[in-house]
Amino acid sequence: MSEAIVFTSGKGGVGKTTLLGNIGISLANLGHNTVLIDADIGLRNLDIVLGIEKKIKFNLIDIAHGICTIDQALARDHRAVGNLSLIAASQSHLKEDLGKEALRKIVSKLKSTFDYVLIDCPAGIEYGFKNATLCADRAVVVVNQEVSSIRDADRVIGILEIEKIRKIQLIVNRYQHELTIKKDMIAVEDIVDLLGVPLAGVIPEDVSILLSSNEGRPIAYRKNHPLQSVFNDITKVILGEKRSSVESHDDSKTASLWKKVKKTFNIHR
């Protein structure tokens, strides 16, 4: 069954677009028919990060306003093993120019041809965010090791839960190992413990991510780059594989009521 996954964070600049692009590539490389939608209307980024800006002829707003068909707006990235396509955002419109029904229709049409529809969500929790999340079956929440980022992620997760998005996964981006060991940064386990949603994976702070985006040649395309396998592993978790890593998180948040009562009253049975 095909699924639409929104990448969101509340706070801006935490790496949604970068991660979505790279995970999209991994999905396609694993053979899944994948389409990426840049729903951050007014701030066109995803095509640049992927390095396929020149291929964009039409955008999401053009489809919504009936100027072109979905097929005409799909920009294919031929570097991926499987099918990877992108629908870019418009740079000259406002978030409000994309109607709720229009986006929902586009996503549901795309779901009939693609296995995965990844939606890049604007920062914030206003109209653009609501619009993007309403079309999604699942969500990936991106967070940095920063109190404000974690707080915003919590707020966003609360809204997603109210919208009945049941499957929510977390990616900690820009992880700084040295500083975390020295306890200058919030540990990944603490972030997961506080937010209470399962971790899909951790991406380290690495300048090559930024450089690759600037070059338009995302890390996920770099065969021997260590980060390629990090993205592949996260993609597999998103696909449903269990996380193999060490920092598997305490499941007390999702524990059953009885488990909590047992723990509280020291009932051993």
């Binding site: 707080r151 915003d152 919590d154 707020r155 609360g158 839960e161 909590k260």
Partner: protein, 217 residues
């Protein structure tokens, strides 16, 4: 800060020959008084539905607009009809109100999820939360609060006169705290952050007790 809730005597229920008379104290904001009356009616619905209901002001009759507004709001929210009773004379000494304070009559609320940043949980009576109250969340309960989890947000328990209410939590490190309207600026010692504690008023000041003592109910 949450709006302080109205004192219990701002809405009084009195048994009279014809049924139940609801006395509204108009020295408070009228709309809030009606809302308070609605809460009380809801909490005692079963008992009240067997009686005819009347309204008037504590210190004298209500004018037609006030009666109309109260009747409409009460009808909309509770589906119950109230009749004006403007010839009622308050006896020199107001008798004991019939219903108990709301937090003792309202059923306890059970919540089983995490309260996330920006979310607020409000209830009239006691609250039992199975889950964590995250930073940026807010709890306002009319009665006591027991949290099987962590409290990092804002937490307020008990209406101003209900000094016996308490808060109990597995891990307790709230950003702001009040009990029956009494607040504290004191930082909790690190023990509370790890062990079950009870927080209750002692000589009108907030005091923290370890799990073993148990609250004085």
């Amino acid at each position: 800060m949450p709006r302080t809730s109205l004192p219990d005597h701002s809405v009084i229920f009195k048994g009279i020959e014809q049924g139940i008379l609801i006395l509204l104290d108009k020295s408070f904001d009228y709309e809030r008084i009606i809302k308070k009356a609605i809460q009380k009616i809801k909490a005692n619905k079963k008992f009240l539905s067997e009686n005819a209901l009347f309204i008037t002001g504590t210190d004298g009759p209500l004018d037609p607009d006030e009666i109309g507004m109260a009747r409409k709001m009460i009808r909309d929210k509770t589906k119950m009809e109230v009749l004006p009773m403007n010839n009622w004379e308050a006896p020199s000494e107001i008798s004991e109100p019939i219903p108990e304070p709301i937090h003792e009559t309202a059923p306890p609320t059970f919540v089983r999820n995490n309260l996330r940043a920006g979310q607020e949980l409000q209830c009239d009576g006691d609250l039992i939360l199975f889950g964590d109250a995250h930073p940026g969340s807010k709890i306002i309960a009319g009665g006591s609060v027991i949290v099987f989890g962590k409290v990092y947000g804002e937490i307020h328990a008990g209406q101003p006169d209900h000094k016996k209410v308490y808060i109990a939590a597995e891990i307790f490190d709230p950003i702001r705290l009040s009990i029956a309207g009494v607040t504290t600026d004191q930082f909790l010692d690190s023990q509370c952050k790890k062990n079950w504690v009870y927080v209750q008023l002692q000589q009108d000041k907030i005091a923290i007790f370890p799990k073993e003592d148990g609250p004085n109910e």
